[in-house]
């Protein structure tokens, strides 16, 4: 395999085939067409068959017991087992179990040939670039599904007391929207951009555990289907927080919530430790810790949170499933359990989760700012320290969600302190951003607009977070629309703005095609204006006394609610611009992107487009951090030929070592 990198070898630089041939296991040549193998279709068949088997088994086991739900008339054991077996069937259908099962029975597993063509996106691929694209499409589908539910909520809230939905439908929609958005956002950047870009940015040919990486995606996709089943099963009335004992008394949709979070949680853990190990162990020679791109720092902090916090969620969900099916009493006060246990476990996961959703956004904007200001990143170490500081502190703040709950009330000052402390490392991110803008040459391209929009929104979200951390103010705003506006400003205004900036920024690399910039600007401005139009009035609504998740509110709040609803519909419409842009420039009228449209120094832009299967012909030797913009003597970021530079970088690794990503 030869790769034309379009780069002329410098004088004295060795040229040739060194390191191009790779040793690998003998592969069985495949001659059958791609659609005959295992792909999305067989996964769906496996999921349906698995659900049927599990449901039948559950009815065999537990049909004689009175079910805990009662209202739906469903046997919760059958639903839970159906969903669990469905996920197993899904994984078997896609082929995730082939390798471990072959190992289990002592056979040498067959590693399939790297696939080409569009069918590989529907298969169990261990190529981090394919997994990244799979994640990206699924995240967008997830986001738009949950976004439609958000517009349904705003439709119901158009009037104080006239109803578009019954209260049961409304509460199901609210819970479904929140849960789907949280599930989506926890992998929104780590999945697509983390998997796709981190190996390219650190000069690696693959991630550490490609099969784990593939499994993380297929768990994520299974989670989408599982949480969708909540709607036909009657929804769940608890919102995304799932508080017991309401959880224990709820109908069948609650099982989808618990199993769904469990499945998503497993995917998050897998994605997290794969990424963490990749960043720690798979950096190219010369990629020292103070040359690692700041996006990779954010991915490392996020990966640590994913790996350490998510197991709590999975365990808590398992307890909930057992309470509902096997009649255990983890969360049942009357039988020796405690409803506080769920609150504590859930938020012990839930607050790090909030930063799982914030840190990647910081990483994206900090990565883009130097490119669009033509200046080095201001305070690189401060940025890295800020991200790690936020990640560390996020484990010590969870009870600020429980200030009014009666759980260890004498600890409130401590949690007030830790919560307010977290604004210090968050402030680092602002220092880095503002410092980079100073005396810069700001190119207002579409990704830069999203980055600046993120700073605008996150400032409001962050400052209102300080209000929430103050216990006397919290007495008024806790559980109101104020909280809801606050976290939409941080997650939607922060993470989602950064994600769309990242999509505009990196799609030329990921797809080889350029999104239309004029329509991109229109998308940004409509999204920015209507986002603020939707969520800013909700601060006022919350302060004026409207609790979250209600379908009736005081009549004097209708004006503010209607402004918000109008904004929400227009915000939804702004995403049509994005979808239209994608369809037009990617499918109908594709335009080949320039190799490096933003003139970035990043290592990911030094690879050919489309990125070859092994990313780099040779493992590059990194010479500098990628932020040498405006330097009087610009230094190359990396030596892709990996020749003489080895000596300069003082690296010891053999650059010709190509690890087979499978």
């Amino acid at each position: 395999m030869t790769i034309d990198s379009g780069r002329r070898p410098a004088a004295g630089e060795p040229v040739g085939d060194v390191g191009v041939t790779r040793p690998g296991p003998t592969r069985r040549p495949t001659s059958r067409p791609a659609w005959l193998g295992q792909h999305l279709g067989t996964a769906v068949v496996g999921a349906v068959a698995g659900y049927a088997v599990g449901h039948w088994l559950g009815n065999q086991i537990a049909s004689a017991y009175p079910n805990t739900a009662g209202a739906s008339g469903l046997n919760d054991t059958a639903v839970v087992l159906g969903l669990a077996f469905g996920v197993v069937g899904w994984l078997a259908g896609i082929g995730a179990l082939n390798y471990p099962l072959a190992k289990l029975v002592g056979r040498e597993p067959v590693t399939p040939e790297p696939q080409q063509g569009w069918m590989r996106y529907f298969k169990y691929s261990t190529d981090h670039k394919v997994v990244g694209m799979q994640y990206l499409v699924t995240v967008l589908v997830f986001f738009f599904t949950a976004g439609l539910l958000a517009m349904a909520i705003r439709t119901e809230l158009l009037t104080p007391a006239n109803h578009f939905f019954g209260p049961d439908i409304y509460i199901a929609v609210v819970g479904e929207h929140g849960t789907m958005m949280m599930m989506m956002a926890s992998s929104a950047v780590v999945g697509p951009l983390g998997n796709y870009l981190v190996p390219l940015m650190i000069g690696s040919r693959r991630t550490a555990f490609p099969r784990v990486e593939a499994a993380s995606y297929w768990f994520f996709a299974a989670g989408y289907l599982v949480i969708l089943t909540a709607l036909p099963l009657g929804g769940f009335p608890t919102g995304w927080t799932g508080y017991a004992p309401l959880q224990t008394q709820s109908a069948g949709g609650m099982d989808s919530y618990l199993v769904g979070f469990g499945v998503i949680g497993i995917g998050m853990i897998l994605a997290g430790f794969n990424l963490a190990v990749t960043i720690i162990h798979f950096r190219a020679p010369g990629m020292t810790w103070n040359r690692v791109p700041v996006f990779v720092w954010s991915m490392l902090a996020t990966a640590a949170l994913l790996t350490l916090a998510t197991p709590t969620l999975v365990a808590a969900g398992l307890f909930g499933v057992l309470d509902r099916t096997a009649q255990t009493a983890f969360y049942v006060t009357e039988h020796g359990g405690s409803q506080f246990l769920w609150q504590n476990l859930f938020w012990f996961f839930g607050h790090p989760e909030v930063y799982i959703m914030a840190l990647p956004g910081f990483g994206i904007v900090a990565e883009m700012l130097p490119v669009f200001t033509r200046k080095p990143l201001f305070g690189y170490r401060v940025a890295a320290a800020g991200m790690l500081g936020v990640a560390l502190l996020s484990f010590f703040v969870w009870q600020h969600h429980l200030f009014q709950s009666g759980i260890n009330p004498d600890m409130r000052p401590l949690f007030m302190l830790t919560t307010e402390l977290i604004s210090i490392p968050t402030g680092f991110i602002f220092l880095v951003g503002l410092g980079t803008l100073y005396k810069a040459r700001i190119r207002m391209e579409v990704p830069m607009l999203f980055a600046l929009g993120m700073y605008f929104n996150f400032l409001i979200g962050g400052v209102t977070g300080v209000f929430l951390s103050d216990v006397p103010v919290n007495v008024t705003v806790h559980g109101s629309f104020f909280v809801m506006a606050h976290f939409h400003y941080t997650i939607m205004g922060g993470l989602i703005f950064a994600l769309f900036g990242g999509i505009y920024y990196w799609t030329p690399k990921m797809t080889g095609r350029m999104l239309d910039q004029k329509w991109g600007k229109i998308h940004f401005w409509t999204m920015f204006v209507f986002f603020n139009l939707t969520f800013f009035p909700l601060f006022i609504v919350g302060l004026l006394g409207q609790p979250r998740r209600v379908f009736e509110y005081a009549a004097n709040l209708q004006v503010w609610n209607d402004i918000s609803s109008t904004g929400a519909f227009l915000l939804g419409a702004s995403f049509l611009i994005f979808v239209g842009n994608v369809v037009w420039t990617m499918v109908i009228n594709p335009r080949t992107a320039p190799a490096n449209p933003w003139a970035s120094n990043g290592l990911e832009w030094q690879t050919p487009t489309p990125v070859p299967y092994f990313n780099f012909e040779r493992i590059p030797v990194v010479l500098n951090d990628p932020y040498h913009y405006g330097d009087p003597e610009p230094a190359p970021v990396a030596d892709l030929g990996a020749g003489l530079a080895m000596a300069v970088a003082g690296a010891t690794a053999d650059p010709s070592t190509g690890l087979d990503p499978r």
């Binding site: 009357e334 220092l431 100073y438 600046l452 103050d470 109101s480």
Partner: protein
């Protein structure tokens, strides 16, 4: 063209920031401040309003600083305005003094907010928030009216232990009185949010969650809403309470006590919680064996002898 003296960017920004902050902060405090929810009906509402205003006055200059900087930077240094490529001088990768200053200032603000918030929480006896069954911050006064709030799907009822423990759906409070809300639930987690009173406490099954406030001279209605998602009719779980003069309250409460006496006898005896627990699965109403009519705990409440 001779070189113009380098514009003093920081000085300009600080000037704009200072003027804007100096104008908007007092404007906010004097125009909006007195109307900030939840108002001034009780001590805890007053405290919440005061805290909100203080935080807003601190937050506004911070937000303005970032906005002024962003606006100035975009206006002055955008590429379409021409100008040379920026040169990566020694300060472009970081500036020790600036970074230290930023971190110091934010740390000082944060620690100040922590001290302020703790003072405002501890001194007004929990600031109207739920403090669990054994509050460590309570009012010094012993003249406290206990009101029990019982939440269930999907309504609130109230019991007045000092008036024989009658149960009603009307929440009436006397003016100029210390009130202790004892919030509990019969089924799932609810939250008692008396909006204008600045009181919020989760209603947990099997737990007595205490929140204190102190009514002032202001009479009138206030809104009570459930603030923790409790099932499909959560949005319809609200009612209205009243603050009346002490004399009006006294006559209302004694009348209620007499009118409802027959009903009160049929109710479960007054207790801190009403759900059976691990020690009383047959429906014991005193799961923790605490006497609800203990004079110390209930500020002199008298048990009715029937």
């Amino acid at each position: 063209m001779p070189d113009a003296p380098a514009p003093r960017h920081f000085r300009r920004m600080v000037a704009v920031w200072f003027v804007l902050s100096a104008v908007t902060d007092p404007l906010f405090y004097f125009l909006a401040g007195p109307h900030i929810p939840p108002g001034k009906m009780t001590s805890s509402a007053n405290g919440a309003q005061f805290d909100f205003n203080v935080l807003f006055i601190i937050a506004l200059p911070v937000v303005i600083a970032v906005w002024v900087y962003l606006g100035y930077a975009i206006w002055t240094w955008r590429a379409s305005r021409g100008g040379p490529e920026p040169v990566a001088g020694p300060y472009s990768r970081g500036h020790l003094g600036l970074q230290t200053g930023w971190i110091s200032v934010s740390t000082v603000i944060v620690l100040g907010l922590f001290v302020f918030g703790t003072y405002e929480l501890v001194v007004p006896a929990g600031a109207g928030g739920g403090e669990g069954p054994n509050p460590i911050w309570s009012p010094a006064s012993k003249q406290i009216l206990p009101v029990q709030v019982i939440a269930q799907q999907w309504m609130f009822t109230y019991r007045y232990p000092t008036y024989g423990g009658f149960e009603t759906r009307n929440l009436v409070l006397p003016a100029d009185t210390n009130v202790a809300f004892h919030v509990t639930s019969l089924d799932v987690i609810h939250d008692f949010w008396a909006y204008q009173l600045g009181v919020k406490a989760d209603a947990n099954p099997g737990q007595d969650d205490v929140a204190y406030t102190s009514t002032g001279s202001q009479l009138g209605r206030f809104m009570v809403r459930c603030d923790e998602l409790c099932g499909i009719w959560h949005g319809a779980m609200y009612n209205t309470g009243h603050i009346e003069s002490a004399a009006a309250f006294q006559s209302w409460a004694t009348t209620q006590e007499q009118t409802l006496a027959a009903t009160t006898k049929l109710l479960p005896p007054f207790a801190w919680t009403y759900t059976p627990d691990a020690n009383g699965a047959d429906g014991g109403f005193y799961p923790d064996n605490r006497d609800p009519y203990n004079k110390v705990e209930m500020y002199g409440a008298q048990k009715v002898t029937s």
